[in-house]
Every structure is written in structure tokens, then in C-alpha cells.
Symmetry: D3
Subunit: 244 residues, 6 copies
């Protein structure tokens, strides 16, 4: 291995193989089984005509998301949150991140009084589950909105989805900025960042954390460059899936 | 449609197409993605050397199971049990049934002080999720035990798994006993029965419920006949999967 | 002791002494303190005019049940489920069984928009608590329905209760099928079955479990024969209590 | 009715009929089914050799109590606390009161490293459930301690129970101080007081609450006089039960 | 130290320094940061126009209270009740006491259909937190009611607050009755009593507990005398704060 | 108001008045009451010799944090999380952020097998509660570590705290990047970012969220510039507090 070669042979700026199996679920209004390498997330979008009570009568819709992991998605089995009777902080945090990311590309007036609930269930986890979830959830959401339009719940000319959105992780390992960290990389990263970007390349979320030493402005900039490039690739893959 | 023809063209005694994707999970010691028609259940078996404290020092092992359903496995989305903070009665009941069914074919002395936790997560539900779960869990369990043997946690000559076990639903619809009910059938059945049977054809569990009118001895016997035949077919499919 | 003699001198097909103290509670619309030997269950039926929201406006009623055990009903004290903050799987399962068994003999149209909640609280447990609960709950339910009729909540000519229902446990111990297992018998049984039957002798629920070796068709049939005979006796005792 | 005549014909200073059915439970080391009129509480005392971890190695024992009410002990059915998943403030408060009251008559050194858990389950409620619970719990506790002595867990000469303890409610209704309020009286009382007293007539707990207008020193004194007299009667009844 | 001198130099009948910082919170309709020595409690009163559903349409208002302690208000850190997922018995009990004490001086008809929620959060605990809470809550409540009157939610001539109310602890230490126990005193007291009194000197609550030996009538009387005197001083301090 | 003038007269790059009342708590090993304008957070640090079980025997320490808000810290009262029985996603997320931020400046080897638990309780909220919490928690942590050193739990020459750490919020309002948003500003911001920085000016956390339109690279850079400047000021204030 040369210095910058990764455990799976990728270059620092290379994504893992990404696949999107659109319409995986027979029952949901929109769905996608997305994989980033060995990470596999089932994303479903449930469309309901009507909104929660606190929003009623304002002519606006709502999009929310829940993230969860099967107990044996990981190398060691984790107790179920339903059995523990409470949702952990990490789960809450990621659910909120997915919801905010998708809402950033929704025009709630155009959506009308409709609700979409996104479920992202990690079937297998190998790093980057939240970024795969956001990227797959966008596809499921797009299909659910198309479903709502076909049935007349959304106006014919309404553009509820203003842009595409995707997410990727970046990190610094042994001083080298790298794209789309797998689990073995993630656990060694000194700095870890998740970047959510629109199809047009604008930032929706930037969440960077120093796991080891704090990071400086140059490192931050290098990571953002990688993340923008990676998200541009994801946007192409999403478009292909939706046109497929 | 003739009188006894079913919505999907099956005869009363015919199973839906059954597939078992063995080793679906990269991480679990044993796993199977099983489908009974559109019902799809991911079964994983997590092997741990050692036993819970209440069993320690007795030279015996333990097998337990948890069942759950993704929120959008069904036609309408159900709230997550983790979000509600409590597990529903139906979930509890099915988890217990799966655990008992698998323990019936385990020799705990031969297993030694090892624990296997089975997770059955319904990814898509179209009737018969508990019977698919038991049938798939057996395959995952067999692989996890083989894994434990290879690594020396189970004795070389020990036969921890004494037999195979599978399960199928039967029910009476418009007076006709039928095998392997899909959701649209299940919701119309007057009587509904789940029958867990060993590979040798002996009963492990018989759970019959009158949904409409109570049932008589002849109806009970007709249902048991169908269930024994169906389970015999499943045993063949399980064997094929494990040899595949 | 001869081979088939039981610890308390009963023959294999003999019930324990059964008593039903009808109207034990001063406050409930129907109540019965039932004992199967040393098992004692207080059953109350609470009648309410009106139905839960999800059923409103359909002209139909509802019957539901909850089962629980006092902490020191057993030989060793169990923690209270209220203190643990969650209901165990066994409690859920039995509550659901009692509810289904009683609903099997209710004509919901005849009941009209009324609700009956059954509470079965085990004051002392010595095996067969769920079967005693169903058998006693029927008596409490009958009285609550009579109460509802007297006050005009149920139509004068309406027959809300279509039949009687009772339940008994059976099991195989040392190869011998036996009726109405006490705790010391239950814990030794190879096979354990609870059978819920209407007064006319039709099956409402059949729940058989192999605790040790799986059981065959002949054993199943012998158990069902015993259970039908035992339930026929219980039906006589219930009738006597309601006429007393 | 003359001015001070009560709804059930009692005089202001008269107890309701009190009965104590000692040894009601076959399984608990001590038990008593106590009734104060229509209030009926089942008290059990569970004796365990050993103490909770936080107390181990100090040569001292522990006594604790839990109070609960069956859902239909009252005129309207209350939801079960186990179903709600949390214990209400009132339940907590009464459990703590019972525990403190019993601990006041225990010599923990003499008890040795043993634990007694008292359960007071209200089967029927008609006012005064906490005072009946304390009074009955004392009898159950005494029997459990005798059980522990017989089996040698408590030293032969040790006097773990230093005195008897009982409790009664008093209140002011239409300006008249009255003893042992039934439910219909309790809900009309301007002032309500529960008084826990030892057999020797000393105070263990005095809990007085102004439900309507605040009360003055004279009223307080009149209530305490009544309560002392009532508890003296209860002490006689307890002694008779324990000698019976 | 002479016999009766206290650890901080107070006489047996002397209060700790009491301060009331009225209007501490910028946001609440009424608030007070009260200290009894090193005990510091932040009391806020939240005024809402309208009442809970169960009270609607009766022309009456409602006042309720919640008590809590910061995790490090005490010498050793306590786990948060929000993290444990349940409120302890002590917290429940004190919340209920505060609510009852304040409701004793409210005329609910005069309050009209308005609700006041009192929050008493202990920032630092050194004994007497519940008595400080009641005493400070009264000041917060008075300000919240004044706020409601200014805005016209309460009638101009309505007197919703009929009297002042305060509370103090008393106890017997080494046989000497003492006022306003600090933590080191409280943990040594043989008898411990909390007394809630109106500004006019009438009792709202008397809660006396024998921590060691039971107490007799003379001791009870001595404690009540001390408590009445202490509360009279508190009433003066409250008045000064409200006029300040 | 000129274009860039803020509601309280500040310039875009100006902090609100910051005060740190060090040692506010008499009981905690370290504490600080910090205010950013009207936002007031009580931070305590509880030092314990020893570590959680999962870390024992590795010669390393642990630092963790919990964040919470009093119910009436805000303009409208929020239900207590202890009463709801579950911690919300926002609370979890902020607790985790504070913990990570502090751990970034800890040398766990130097800390030795000691644990510090940080509690940040918001007494009054006016925007920026999480950044005030981190900034104040650092001061409390520093004092708790000094306490541990004085008592010999931390080695004499060990430098457990490697740097200072502080946090500030920045956001874009009407297109203008602004520092330290108050609540009225925060709710209008198009983009909102929390930046955690060490005393040396390196990044520990960057969390930027597009509340309205996504943001571009230039906006991101402008916000980071402001945040670095603001944190530099906070570092000076922290140093002054610790030297004071």
C-alpha cells in the first residue's frame, strides 16, 4: 500500500460503490434500498393527505423522518431501543438531521396540507449510515411526492421538491482528507464531517467534529472540497435512479 | 374463479413461493432473508460464548428471539415501538413463540455455555410473518451453531440442533381450509391457526383461534392435515437452503 | 401412589375443586371470585355506556380484558409491573387470550354501543390462572350484561351473550394426559395445552406447546378429549353460579 | 338523623366493623385480609434472608412496602398503573407512608440481615385504604417475623418487633370531628387527618390536611383525641388476631 | 457550645437568614428566588388563560405545582429523573404538598377560568427545600395573579388569593425542639415535622414523622408552637417582599 | 436603526454582555453561573474518583455532560422531561455536543481513573444556551480538576486539561452574518451555526444548518470568521474568571 491507499483500494477522493434499488417496498408510496459499499439502508416514504393538528389550516405540509438500526446491523448485537423502552441520543440526533435535510428542499406551500414520513432503517452498517439514509430518503421522497401528485393531493403545477439533496461523510485519517469513510476508517479518523448539499452545490448542513486533535481552517477547507465533489457524484446517481 | 380458487390462483393446499437467501447479513454468525410470497423477514442469529447470569455454571446454553416489524412493512404506517416506548402485546407474543419453537429443537447440554439471540425483523408484511420468521430463523440458527462449532465453542461431536423446525399458517375461509394465508385471506378467515412442526412431523406448537364462529373437531383435523403437509414442504426447502 | 395417581389424589381426568363466589365486589357491575383449587382469581366486569372513539357510530360494542397477578400470588415474590414500568410478555399474552375468548361469545350488534372491561387479578396462583380467569370472567361478564339490560343500555330483546365459554388446561406428565394441572404438575409437564370451549362444545382457542419433546397426533387428540370433558363440567358449574 | 348521626348509623367516635383474616395467603410468610367496613385490603409480608446490596455487611435488616389498588376497587374503573407505565403520586406517597410506619416499630439490629417486603393491595376501596393497609400490614409483618424466627434467620432472643402499630383516619365534617371516614364522608370532609400510633399510644405519623378551610389548634386537638382512641381499639383487634 | 446551641450558632427557635429575590425570572408571570440559609429554590408561576379540559365550563380556575431538584443541588450528585425516565416518590409527594398548600389560599371562583402552574426548582439543597418552596411559591403566585388581573383575565374586584401561606420545618434533636432544620440537623432529628400555615395562623398541613422513637403529645405541641412562631416571621418577610 | 443595527444596539460582530459567576454552587467541586445576555446557565462539575465499569483498569478517566432546561426558562412553559418520562431529541443532542466539546481538551491518561460529570441547567433561555453551557462548563471543569489535583486524585505534574474551549453561535439574518444570536434573532436566521473552538483557535465542532435557503461557501467563511473572533473574546473572559 502506498501512503494514501485505502483498505479497500480506493483513492482518498473515491466513493464506495453506490446502488439505489428504487421501489423496493411494495407498500410504501416511495421507497429505496440504498447501499454505500456494505452499508445498506431501507428508506420508505409514507404519504398521508392531511397534516398534524398543530399545522392544520395553514395550507402547508410537513415532512419528518425517523432513523433506526436493526439490532444486528453491526458487528456486535445492540439491544433494541423498543426493548430498552427509550431511544438513544444518537438515534434522535440522526433522525433530526435527516428530517432537516429533506425539509430544506421542500416548498411547504406547494406541498399543500400533506404529510410525508420518512423511515430510514439500517439493515447493515459499515460507516456512513446517516449519509446513505439522506441520499436514499431523497429518492423515496421524490417518488412519494409523485404519487401524491398523480392522485391529485398535490396541485398539478406545484413544485413541492425544489432541488435534490444528498450527503456524504469526509474525514482526516493519518493527516489525509478522505471521502466516504467505511467503519474501519471512521473509527480511526481524527476529524469526521458529514456534509449535506443540494443538487446545485449549496450547503444544507455542515457537521464537523474533532475526534482527536482539533482541526484548522485548511483542513476544514480540504474536507469541504472533497464533500462537494462527492455529493456532485451522488446527485448524478440519484438522478439516474429516478429516471431509471 | 371457481369456488376454491384463491385470489392469487393458488389451490387451497398450496404454499406461496418460498425463497430463502442464506447469509444475507455480512455481520451475523447466521442469517437468512426469507420470503413467503410478499412477506419478507430478515432473520439473524447472534452467537455469543457465555450465558446470562441466571444460567451460569450449569453447563447449558440459551436461545432467545425477538420479533419486530419495520414501521412501513404494512399498508398503513405503524408507529415505532421504540418511539412509543413500549412493546405491544402482539410483538411480545410472537417473540415468545419464536423463542419457544427454536428451543424445542435445541439440546442445551450439547450447546454448552453459549447463547444465540435470534432477531426476526419483518421488512414487508403480507400475512404469515410469524411463520416465515420461525422458518427462516431455523436456517440462521443452524448457521450460527455451525459457526460456533468451527471456532470450538461447541464440542466437535455435540449435536446441539436435534431436528429442523418450521411453521405455517392455516385457516378456514368461506368454509374451506386453506394453507399459508396472505393478508387479504387472513383478515377474512373464520378460524386461524399457526402450527409449528419438527422436520420429523411432530408438533411443537398448535395455536388455533376462532376469529368468527367457534370451530369443531373436524375442522381442526382438516387444518392440522394441511399444516403438516405444508411444513413437510418447508422442511425440504430449508434443507435445500442449508445445503446450497 | 399408583402410576397415575396425582399428588393431590385426583385421577388424571379430574378437575380440582372449583368454586365461584359471584358478586364478590360491591362496586363492579359484574364480578366473581373463582378458585380452581388454590388458584384464586378475582374477575370484575366494568360496564360503560359508549365505546372507544375508533368504534363510535357503528352501532357495535366492545369487550376487552386485562390480566395481572399480585406480587406475592406466587411462591416467590415478583416485582410489580407498575414498578418496573412495563408489562411483561406473559401478561400481555394472557390478557389478549382472555379478551379474544370472551369476544367469541359476544354479539356486538346486540351489545350496542356499550363497552365492558374485564379485569382478572390473580390473588393466589397455583397453576391454571388463565383458564380460571376465562371461566370466572364469563360469569362476571354475564352479570354486567344483565346490569346493562336492566338499565336499558342494552335492548330488551337483544341477546348480547350468545353462549357460555370456559377454559381448562391439560398436559402430558410422564406420558399420561392429565386435566387441570396444578403448579407442581405444570412445571413437570412435557406438553401443556390450554383449551377454550363454548358451552356447546366448540373450540374457541387451542394453544398447545411442547415443553419437552414434541407431541404427536394421538397425544393431541387425547388432550383435546380431556379438555372437552373438563370444560363441559365447568359449563355446569358456571350455570349453577349464575342461577344461584 | 340527628345532627351528628352518620350515614351508616355510627356515632362520630365509632369505628366501622373491623375484621382481620390472618393467614389468607397460602404462600406468603405472613398475610392478612383486613376490612374496615367495605374497604378490603390484602396485606402480604414476604420474608427473605439477606438484604439489598446498599445495606449489606452492617448486620441490619430492612422493611419496605408497596401499596396498590385493583383497577375496579373503586366506583369507576381506574387505568392500571402497569398499563400506564408509571406509578402515580398518590400510590408512591402511600407506599412510603406504610413503609415508614412499619419501620418505626422495627429494631433493625434485632432483625439481622433479613428483608421483609410488605404488599398492600386494595381489593375494594371505601375510604381509609391507607389506614387499613398499615393496620393489616402490622399483622402480616408479625407473622413473617415469627416465620423467620422459627427457621433461625432471626436470633431466638431477638425482639425485632418492638411494638404494635396501627392507623386510623379522622376528619371534620360539618364542623364535627369524626373517626374512620368512609368514602362518602371523606369526600365531604373539610379537614382530613391520618394518624399512625404505636400500641403504647405514641405518634409515628400525623398527616393533617385542610381540604376546605384551614383548621385551628382546637380542631387539631379534637382530631388527635379521636385518633388516639380509635387506634387503641385497633391495637386490641390486632392482638386478638395474632393470638387467635 | 452550650446544650442548645446549634451548629451555626442559632437558638432553637431561630430561622436561618431568609431572602426572597422577587421577579428573578424575566419570562415568568411571577417568580421568586428564595433562600433559607444555603437552601436556594427558584419558584416560577406560569399564568395561562383557560383551564384543563376536565374543569372547563365551570367558571373555576386551577393551581398546580411541580417540584424538582437539580442533580448537583446536593452533596453527592443524584441521577436526573428525566434520564431515569421516572419521577421518584419523594418528588411526587412534595409536588403534591406544594400544590395543596397553595390551593388552600385560592378562591377558584374568583380566579375564574385561569390556570397557574408553579415550578419549584431546588438549585441548592441544605434542608427545608419543601418549606422554602412553598414560602417562595406564594410570592410567585401572588405576582402571577396580579399579572392576570392587570391584563383583565381576572375580574377587577375578584380576590383570588384569600390569604398568604408559608411553611417551615421543625424537629426534635437530642430532645430539644428546633426550628428550620438545616441538612446536618435534619439527618439527626428524632422527629421531623413540616407545618404549613396561613398568614392568619391557621393550619393548612401538618406532617409529622417519627424518624427515631415515636413522639408524645407534649413534643407535638412544642413543635407546633415553634412552627407557628416561625411561620409568623415568614409571613412578615413575604409581605415585605411583595411590597418591596 | 441603520441597516445592520441589531434589536439591542449591538454591531453584527459584537457579543452580548458575558458574565461568569465562578463557584456559584457551595456543593459541587466546580461550578459557574454563566450569562450571555439574558441567557443564564448553571454549570456544575462533579468529580468522582473512579470510572464507569466499561473503562475500569485502563488508567484513563472520563468526562460526560448533561444539559437540561427548567420548564419556565422560556417564554412559554415546557413540560418537564421527567414528567413526560423521556428526554427529547434536542436535549440529547446538546448533551452529547457539550460532552464531546469538553473531552476534546482532556488528556484522559493524565486525568487518571477519575470521572467528571458536567451538568448544564438552563435557568433562563434567550438564545445560545448550548454555547453558553459549553463556555461555562469549561470553567466548572477546570475547577473540578484543580480540586482533584489538590486532593491527590490527579497526579501533581499531570496536565489533564490541555487547552481551554468555548463556543458561540453565528447566523445570517437578512443577508448579514451576525455573532451570538439572541432568541429573537435566532428565530429569524436563514442560517444558524454553532462553532466550538479551543483557546488556540482550532475547531472542535462546526455545526451549520440552513434554516431557510441553503448557504454558499462565502457565507460559510464569513460565519467562521465571526465565530473565531467571538471565541477569542470568550477565551479571555474565561481566563479572567479562572484567575479572579
Amino acid at each position: 500500500m502506498t501512503d494514501n491507499e485505502r483498505f479497500d483500494g480506493r483513492t482518498p477522493g473515491q466513493l464506495r460503490p453506490v446502488t439505489i434499488e428504487r421501489g423496493w417496498s411494495k407498500q410504501a408510496e416511495g421507497s429505496a434500498l440504498i447501499s454505500f459499499g456494505d452499508t445498506r439502508v431501507l428508506c420508505t416514504a409514507s404519504f398521508t393527505n392531511g397534516v398534524p393538528r398543530w399545522l392544520a389550516g395553514q395550507g402547508k405540509g410537513w415532512v419528518t423522518a425517523e432513523y433506526a438500526m436493526l439490532p444486528r446491523a453491526t458487528n456486535d448485537r445492540n439491544d433494541r431501543e423498543s426493548v430498552k423502552g427509550r431511544i438513544g441520543g444518537r438515534t434522535h440526533e440522526i433522525s433530526r438531521l435527516i428530517g432537516r435535510s429533506l425539509r430544506a428542499v421542500i416548498d411547504f406551500k406547494a406541498l399543500g396540507e400533506n404529510t410525508v414520513v420518512i423511515d430510514c432503517d439500517v439493515l447493515q452498517a459499515d460507516g456512513g449510515t446517516r449519509t446513505a439514509a439522506i441520499t436514499g430518503a431523497y429518492v423515496a421522497l421524490a417518488d412519494a411526492l409523485a404519487w401524491g401528485k398523480e392522485r391529485g393531493f398535490i396541485g398539478k403545477k406545484a413544485v413541492a421538491l425544489t432541488e435534490s439533496v444528498s450527503a456524504i461523510s469526509v474525514g482526516i485519517i493519518d493527516g489525509v482528507p478522505m471521502l466516504d469513510l467505511a467503519y474501519v476508517e471512521d473509527s480511526r479518523a481524527e476529524t469526521d464531517m458529514n456534509v449535506v448539499v443540494t443538487g446545485a452545490g449549496a450547503f444544507v448542513e455542515v457537521q464537523g467534529t474533532a475526534e482527536g486533535a482539533p482541526f484548522d481552517r485548511d483542513e476544514l477547507n480540504a474536507l469541504l472540497d472533497l464533500a462537494l465533489a462527492g455529493n456532485a457524484e451522488l446527485a448524478v446517481i440519484q438522478r439516474a435512479a429516478l429516471e431509471g
